[in-house]
């Protein structure tokens, strides 16, 4: 068989940078969580909570999330197509431009240049950088697929292609704005329309960035890590098409009880509940792949990351539809419950799957075996415990907060003032801060392990390096 010159160097560089942005995400996350309990940690004007929170979310979604997807897509696309990248030069440009974009994003957000739209805070010049980045990436992936030497496209490639077009449509429509100056623009839409477009974007950013790409990764790396093929091809097909069909109807579940037309809210609610089916299609596909392989949960640390990851995805996609029901939304919307939901997805599902994929690639990109599996296990437990403390404390906090906001006396007056409910949150916010610190230690263990591997791990056998 003819050997292919896979470009692993670009994969390694993207991984290095995505981990750096991941550390920034977590550091800023820990900082803002302590700012909520110790407001004197706000250093005006640049380092206030209002300016730092978007840096945290953007670094998480674009730096750590998308940065890792760049790496893993470039790896998967070459392997699944049994061909080298279409353009190494373009990929190199993209790496450089990715870092330039993230740095520009961070600096402009610190300076207060923001559109205020969640997950789309970047002002128009930075938007243009994001578009260039995405076009470069999409061309390289699509052209590599076009010149592939494997006729059939594997599931992971479907999810990749869908997220390439999905992100493009979402981003461009939500970016419509009229510039006033270099760093200030006004949205092309007003009021209720603007809100509806924004959350059509916002929720589908979850679909096209925090769901489809990690699913692509999961579908590729679970069989690789276990040696067992995905349970059902047909289930993959049904889950894929119904997922990308249904997601787009659900944006208004972020806007229940607001002035958005009722019928839009009702559609969003209905489709959110139906979305359980395609989401759990993938969960079952993962679990059933493990039939006869469950002993690997003990023997193979990669499987632990992947199976816990898909489990959190499963929980996330049950909790999400629940939140999308009007009655439940009236209760928990705007409360601490919601960051609990978000971080089960972000710290649990997305990050666990990314950790597994990166560990799997270690022998290929460093040419060495992982320095220490016990350290990888320690990493696993620290991030798991950190995340559970984070989410569980905030779910309890959110329920208590919601209860206090809605409590009424017999004479029809409110039982609690805003501040009476507010002060009850402090203990939970402390707990969340502690959870965050544990998670941070977990990430540091991960990085130490990778550095030790790169510096002096045992050389990996040729066979594994090239397999």
């Amino acid at each position: 068989m003819e050997t292919v010159n896979y470009n692993y160097a670009i994969v390694r560089s993207f991984i290095t940078w995505s981990i750096i942005w991941g550390v920034v995400t977590v550091l800023v996350g820990v900082l803002i969580s302590f700012q909520l309990v110790l407001p004197e940690l706000n250093f005006a004007p640049y380092l206030t909570y209002g300016r730092l929170r978007p840096i945290h979310t953007n670094a998480g979604i674009f730096g750590w999330g998308i940065g890792s997807f760049f790496a893993l897509f470039y790896y998967m696309v070459q392997r699944l197509c049994r061909t080298s990248l279409w353009s190494d030069g373009l990929a190199k440009f993209q790496l450089w431009f990715f870092n330039a974009t993230i740095i520009t994003a961070a600096v402009t957000l610190l300076l207060g240049y923001t559109t205020s739209k969640e997950y789309h805070e970047l002002e128009w010049p930075v938007d243009i950088m994001v578009v260039i980045l995405w076009v470069a990436f999409a061309i390289n992936i699509i052209m590599t697929i076009v010149k592939r030497r494997e006729p059939q496209m594997y599931v992971s490639l479907w999810f990749m292609l869908a997220s390439l077009v999905g992100v493009a449509i979402l981003y461009l429509v939500n970016a419509a704005e009229v510039p006033v100056s270099l760093f200030k623009s006004y949205s092309a839409y007003a009021g209720t329309n603007d809100a509806n477009v924004q959350w059509w974007f916002g929720h589908n950013a979850v679909a096209m960035v925090l769901t489809a790409p990690p699913l692509a990764v999961f579908y590729y790396f679970l069989p690789k890590a276990t040696g067992a093929p995905i349970y059902s091809h047909r289930l993959s097909i049904v889950a894929f098409w119904s997922l990308i069909f249904m997601y787009l109807w659900t944006g208004a579940h972020h806007l229940l009880w607001t002035p958005v037309p009722d019928w839009v809210q009702t559609l969003a609610m209905a489709f959110s509940v139906m979305l359980i089916a395609p989401s759990w299609g993938s969960v079952f596909n993962g679990y059933l792949t493990m039939n006869g392989q469950w002993h690997q949960m003990r023997e193979n640390y990669l499987v632990k990351f992947l199976i816990l990851g898909i489990t959190f995805y499963g929980l996330q996609t049950l909790q999400g539809p629940l939140q999308a029901v009007r009655s439940f939304s009236s209760f928990i919307h705007y409360t601490e419950w919601v960051p609990g939901h978000v971080h089960m997805g972000a710290m649990g599902w997305v990050s666990l799957v990314l950790f597994a994929a990166i560990y799997y690639l270690v022998p290929k990109i460093y040419g060495r075996e992982l320095y220490s599996i016990p350290l990888a296990n320690l990493h696993f437990w620290l991030v798991l415990v950190g995340q559970l403390i984070y989410s569980i404390s905030l779910w309890v906090a959110g329920l208590q907060q919601a209860g206090m906001w809605h409590a009424m006396n017999n004479d029809g007056s409110l039982t609690y003032t805003f501040m009476e409910a507010f002060v009850e949150m402090y203990p939970y916010w402390w707990m969340r801060g502690v959870g965050g610190l544990i998670y941070l230690v977990g990430i540091l263990v991960f990085i130490v392990n990778l550095i030790k591997t790169a510096q002096g791990g045992k050389p990996a056998p040729e066979a594994i390096q090239n397999a």
Partner: protein
């Protein structure tokens, strides 16, 4: 294994995926434009932002206040009691972008305008904990140090197509960012005359249910510290609001003042506390031990 054409043809897959994505998009994102911001939504009394208010709005965006504050009141009993009349679509037609937000770390601000006197905001923005000791809101004193740039505001007004006079722009000279922020905050939610409509009316005779009871006085003391001290002083000596240590009001007059408020003069209504708590405050003010 049999496979479908799209599994072998990337361009076909891309086209099919795009069409699939566009269906829900068209129904739930494009179509609503025909329903929203139409004649049907219009509210006569809602007006565009003045130059000073718009400048404040841009600062609200710059500082990311929307990361802690929402600006929509939902039509839920507790929410309307706490914040005021629920939000209507027509109130937001001049909001580009919308600032509804997704988290209520701090209270909703959709109906803030007129709730407090300007002076309250000037003090609160500089040092939130001086008014509300347990607050975690960052201090924004630096807004006092920066002047707003009239030319930039004029350009913004042109892009937004809001009306203004050259006099409006001239008057921006010397205004600080804090002035703009306070002007914006006082505009919020005032597009409809909801405050008058929501004003509580007391029907029937008022009788102090626990006159001079020590437990009521003690409870009232705590409630006073939490709800009133920021404006009337810790020792009732007066600050933003007048001094209350002169014992000039009878129990039922005092109850009515607190329960109904003097909403156009900066004294908020405290009806949402419920009558029991308001009577406790009355007992504290009129029957506390004075040194």
């Amino acid at each position: 294994m049999s496979s479908h054409a799209w599994e072998k043809k990337p361009v076909l897959l891309l086209i099919l995926a795009t069409v699939t994505i566009l269906v829900g998009t068209i129904f739930t994102m494009v179509l609503p434009f025909a329903w929203v911001n139409t004649e049907h939504d219009r509210i006569e009394t809602v007006s565009p932002y003045s130059p000073l208010e718009q400048a404040g709005r841009d600062l609200y965006i710059r500082e990311g206040c929307n990361n802690c504050h929402t600006q929509t009141v939902r039509p839920l009993v507790a929410e309307v009691l706490r914040y005021g009349d629920y939000s209507k679509s027509g109130e937001f037609i001049y909001d580009r972008p919308h600032l509804w937000g997704s988290r209520r770390t701090g209270p909703d601000l959709a109906r803030l305008g007129g709730k407090y006197p300007d002076e309250w905001h000037y003090q609160h923005m500089v040092a939130p904990t001086s008014m509300i000791p347990k607050s975690n809101m960052p201090a924004y004193g630096f807004l006092n140090d920066n002047l707003i740039d009239p030319d930039a505001v004029k350009k913004a007004m042109d892009v937004l197509g809001f009306p203004y006079s050259s006099n409006d722009i001239a008057q921006l000279e010397g205004k600080t960012e804090m002035d703009a922020m306070v002007a914006y905050l006082q505009k919020l939610g005032t597009g409809i005359p909801w405050r008058k409509a929501a004003e509580v009316e007391i029907i029937g005779e008022l009788v102090n249910p626990f006159p001079k009871e020590p437990t009521a006085i003690a409870a009232g003391e705590l409630l006073y510290a939490e709800n009133c001290a920021a404006c009337h002083g810790e020792e009732l000596e007066g600050q933003i609001g007048p001094e209350l240590d002169q014992d000039v009001y009878s129990d039922d007059e005092l109850f009515e003042l607190i329960y109904v408020g003097v909403t156009d003069a900066g004294m908020p209504s405290f009806a949402s506390l419920g009558s029991t708590k308001v009577w406790q405050i009355v007992n504290f003010i009129n029957y506390r031990e004075t040194p």
